[in-house]
Amino acid sequence: MKHIKTINKANLKASAAKGGCGKCQASCQSACKTSCTVANQKCEREA
């Protein structure tokens, strides 16, 4: 495309179908404790 460059896989919808396994860390257990930041947590689902 000339005007638009898509830079990622945009796979959020696909992630919902296979998601919710609950293996990932609770976000406040990493380094927040006073804010909620979920998007920077790692997915821990085994492939």
Binding site: M1, K2, H3, I4, K5, T6, I7, N8, K9, A10, N11, L12, K13, S15, A16, K18, G19, G20, C21, G22, K23, C24, Q25, A26, S27, C28, Q29, S30, A31, C32, K33, T34, S35, C36, T37, V38, A39, N40, Q41, K42, C43, E44, R45
Partner: protein, 456 residues
């Protein structure tokens, strides 16, 4: 829903529901203000008329067709079809615990949300029996979850370190019976770190959070000892010794910025220059009447400061060095799934806090607030209604979140902040939201630049 913004010379558009991130030219940026689904086959004549003062008509049509194509591919103006997951997938076993082994602290940090360590309930240490009951509770309530998390928290947990060690020993025996694994972490101010403690923590704890605010004068203004003197000299020495001993295990140095250091990028860089490369520095959450509290008027300066920080981090990385800033971490391809994103932090549902006397609360920030007391690990009481209420506090039950572009990144914000500063866990604390959104824009921009560089 889309969100577009200009940053660091780039035009970026985020397609909220697919997670798609696109770099766009000025024409697309302006055209997106004028078109939205359902799309006609051709760009509407009035839009071409309006924009043709700035752009050639054939280019506008060409750009319109690119937007249509991405819409057809489901990565621009994609539909929000997640609510069905919110209705069915949010309740979960309890698998994370914040264990308050000490409601006492050897510092008197001015901004402490725990009333300088005791959470308003008097200074107290957890005894071993209560700690054991907390482990039993976690193992039992985690149902089919195999990987559990327990953070030793305070007050200052190192003030009760013998009990920490014995709780870990007990948990290591008990987890085998359940065929589970508990990941331990600890959050400490570092004042009491000794080589023995460092060795134990390195052996047993997968992550440590080391509290330090940055520059000496910034740290010592807020993080004071009981006698009023600063803590910087002691903790920086201890952390410098401790971090290299961690090897490849995780750690964060974690600071708080206030109205007194809105130039907090200096503090992040100061921490980096001390040899720390895993850094989190967050805004203070405080009653607006406090002199150090961040207020709406500070936002322009804070927004600019995050931009400056992103430039400084980019420069460090361009020199081939490693630095990670917690709030700029983002994986645009392999991040958490949409279900995790709509559930949020999981407090009161997957995550709980336990006070020294065994009382259970939705998270560490709710500790001591009577109406949120969920039960007690010693007498076995547990209020499932409160758990259900928190399970339902997801992005689709928070009115401001439903219409917000950032909802799949902050996941509804901090329920405790919402309650404390906006009156209800379902209300958004707008000051925190604004800061969060700016951090996200910076994070998306930095990731976009990195992905472009990699592609080239």
């Amino acid at each position: 829903m889309i969100h577009k913004f200009k940053l660091a010379g780039l035009n970026i558009v985020l397609d909220v529901n697919s997670g798609g991130v696109h770099l766009i030219d000025d024409l697309t940026y302006d055209l997106l203000d004028n078109v939205e689904p359902p799309f006609d086959e051709k760009c509407p004549a009035n839009v071409i008329d309006k924009l043709s003062k700035t752009y050639p008509a054939d280019e506008i049509e060409e750009c319109f067709q690119e937007i249509r194509e991405l819409y057809a591919d489901g990565i621009m103006f994609s539909e929000d079809d997640y609510e069905k997951y919110a209705l069915t997938s949010v309740a979960a076993p309890i698998k994370s615990m914040c264990l308050h082994v000490s409601h006492d602290c050897n510092l008197r940090c001015e901004y402490c949300f725990a009333s300088t360590g005791d959470f308003g309930g008097g200074r107290m240490l957890m005894d071993l029996e209560t700690g054991k009951r907390a482990i039993d509770f976690l193992l039992k309530m985690s149902a089919n979850r195999k990987l559990l998390e327990l953070d030793f928290f305070g007050g200052e947990p190192l003030m009760n370190f013998e009990v920490v060690k014995q709780i870990v020993a007990y948990a290591r025996e008990e987890e085998k019976k359940y065929d589970k694994q508990i990941r331990f972490t600890i959050t400490t101010n570092g004042m009491l770190l000794t080589e023995d403690k460092m060795d134990f923590i390195n052996r047993e704890m997968s992550n440590v959070v080391l509290s330090i605010d940055g520059r000496k004068e910034v740290n010592d203004r807020m993080r004071k000892r009981v006698d009023g003197s600063g803590s910087y000299d002691r903790i920086v020495e201890n952390f410098k010794k401790f971090v290299p001993m961690r090897g490849d295990k995780d750690y964060y140095v974690r600071g708080t910025y206030t109205k007194y250091n809105l130039d907090f990028s200096e503090d992040v860089i100061h921490l980096f220059e001390q040899g720390f490369d895993q850094i989190s520095v967050e805004p203070v959450m405080a009653d607006p009447s406090m002199p150090y509290a961040i207020t709406d008027g500070d936002l322009p300066k804070i927004f600019r400061e995050y931009e400056i920080l992103s430039e400084k981090i980019a420069k460090i990385r361009s020199e081939g060095k490693f630095i990670n800033f917690f709030h700029f971490m983002l994986d645009l391809d392999q991040g958490p799934c949409a279900i995790k994103r709509l559930k949020g932090c999981g407090c009161g549902n997957e995550y709980i806090a336990v006070s020294p006397d065994g009382d259970i609360y939705p998270c560490h920030q709710f500790v001591g607030i009577e109406q949120f007391k969920m039960g007690n690990v010693c007498d076995g009481s547990f209020n499932y209604d409160i758990k259900a209420d928190f399970a339902k506090a997801h992005v689709y039950t928070k009115p401001e979140c439903v219409k917000c572009w950032a909802k799949f990144y902050c996941s509804g914000g901090c329920n405790a902040n919402n309650y404390l500063y906006a009156g209800d866990i379902h209300n958004s604390y707008k000051l925190a939201c604004e800061i969060q959104k700016k951090r996200l824009e910076c994070a998306i921009m930095m990731k976009a630049v990195q992905m472009m560089d990699t592609a080239e």
